[in-house]
Amino acid sequence: MRYAMAIDTRKCVGCSDCVVACQTENNVPVGYCRDWITETVDGTYPHVELELRSERCNHCDNAPCVRCCPTGASHIVEGGVVLVTHNECIGCGACIQSCPYDARYSHPEGYVDKCTFCIHRVREGQKPACVEVCPTKCMYFGDLDDPNSEISVALRNRKFKDLAPEAGTKPQIFYLI
């Protein structure tokens, strides 16, 4: 089993609904976020191209945050999901430094926090909160090992890219382009 997410940059309108849904679902403290929207503009006017991406922890196959964690608080569970055990985390910040996506932050209570792929929902057969609320239905979540899952189908039929593959982390959030 390999959980992953595909996000259609041609459907995303950058409404930030996924951001708010995550903050609500996961009680993210005010002023913090586990997912966010990135806008990039390529080219020079008038020949410009806009891309919108909903970004979050990439739940990397080669996760540097798990490797550098001195206590084992950062760990990998079923489906390759990277989680942080709060009462094992000492708040040293090594994982934050190691993440090329800056997807982690230091929670006001001291431990390090990040996207969990809403594993608590996924274990009950639901989709992550961000995927569930997306008004343009531009996000696909599922098991890459299952050829019939909606993410496998999406990745089979479309061109896609991942972020900073040169960092060697093997990210598992794919952007359909």
């Binding site: 929207i37 550098c68 430094q97 982690r104 972020l163």
Partner: protein, 313 residues
């Protein structure tokens, strides 16, 4: 061409607009760790070589700084932790992949061993010293009898500690400035040099001082060589590392790095040490202080600048 780039919706404190998570605690700790490693390395080395009579400051007296430096350094490290009450989780596991785990365990070993090392010389410093308990007296006898074994242990641990201060940073491939294997040896050599500087400053014996000063000149030469290679490596590497090097070659850290680290911290003390060896009278405090301050600023700059370098946005 990527003309414009906006991130909206993320303003996580300490992370945005650029990573600013590690503050003064980390460079102070890296400096004190390197200093302790440097002092202990030469203490153990000269003790193993049987030169404790010729090099009394190196072997016996300078190490008195080490428990102090390590305690202060560990204190700084503790202050850096955001989830402080859980610090003991470091010692519930050994994680070979994590440099920080290596460091935590190395410090756990080297701190008590360095205290034992200096305690075994307390009677030479204060002749009427009496240990309060009889078992401490017999333990001291044991330490003195097995000093060679202790010296070997300290030698190895000092090298691990010195390299670790660099590897701690170089293991983060997300920060292109840190992500170079030269950082380990560079921090080790810099730590050895600061250790020698502190020892040289304490020493009253001109022969011991000139011997240390000669070694220090070699170390400064190696440092300059490694720094040259650091930049050669960056400039021949990927775009993010070329950008990282630009921070020091025209970017915002150019002046602080070249003036304070290279000139004040390496070239200036090297010139003074050469003059001293040629017979000019130079107060040892000046080159020693320059090396120590240069080493400290070097760590501040590396920690600060490294956090700015990144892959995305």
């Amino acid at each position: 061409m990527k003309e414009e780039l906006i991130i909206s919706g993320r303003m996580n404190p300490g992370i945005d607009p650029y990573l600013n998570l590690w503050h003064w605690q980390i460079p102070i700790y890296l400096f004190l760790g390197g200093l302790a490693a440097g002092i202990l390395f030469f203490a153990a080395l000269y003790s193993i070589m049987g030169k404790d009579k010729e090099m009394p400051t190196t072997v016996k007296w300078a190490p008195f700084l080490v428990p102090l430096a390590l305690t202060l350094g560990l204190g700084a490290l503790f202050l850096d932790l955001k989830h402080k009450l859980f610090f003991w989780q470091l010692y519930t596991t050994i994680r070979l992949d994590s440099p920080m785990s290596w460091g935590a365990w190395t410090l756990m070993l080297i701190t008590p061993l360095s205290i034992i090392w200096v305690a075994s010389y307390v009677k030479e410093a204060i002749p009427d010293w009496k240990w309060k308990f009889a078992w401490l007296e017999s333990f001291e006898g044991l330490v003195i009898r097995y000093r060679l074994a202790l010296a070997w242990a300290l030698l190895v641990l000092a090298i691990i500690l010195g390299i670790y201060t660099g590897i701690l940073l170089s293991a983060f491939n997300a920060r292109p400035l840190w992500n170079t294997s030269i950082l380990g040896p560079l921090f080790l050599v810099s730590g050895l040099s600061t250790g020698i500087a502190a020892t040289m400053w304490m020493s009253k014996d001109p022969r011991e001082r000139s011997r240390l000063s000669r070694i220090d000149l070699i170390l400064i030469g190696i440092e300059l060589f490694l720094i040259t290679h650091l930049f050669m490596g960056f400039l021949a590497s990927s775009a993010v590392q070329i950008e990282a090097a630009q921070l020091f070659l025209g970017g915002q850290f150019t002046v602080s790095f070249w003036v304070f680290v290279i000139v004040l911290g390496l070239l200036f003390p090297a010139v003074l040490e050469i003059l001293e060896l040629r017979g000019y009278h130079i107060p040892m405090a000046i080159p020693a202080l320059a090396i120590l301050i240069g080493g400290l600023i070097f760590r501040f700059i590396m920690v600060e600048a490294g956090q700015i370098t990144r892959y995305l946005y």
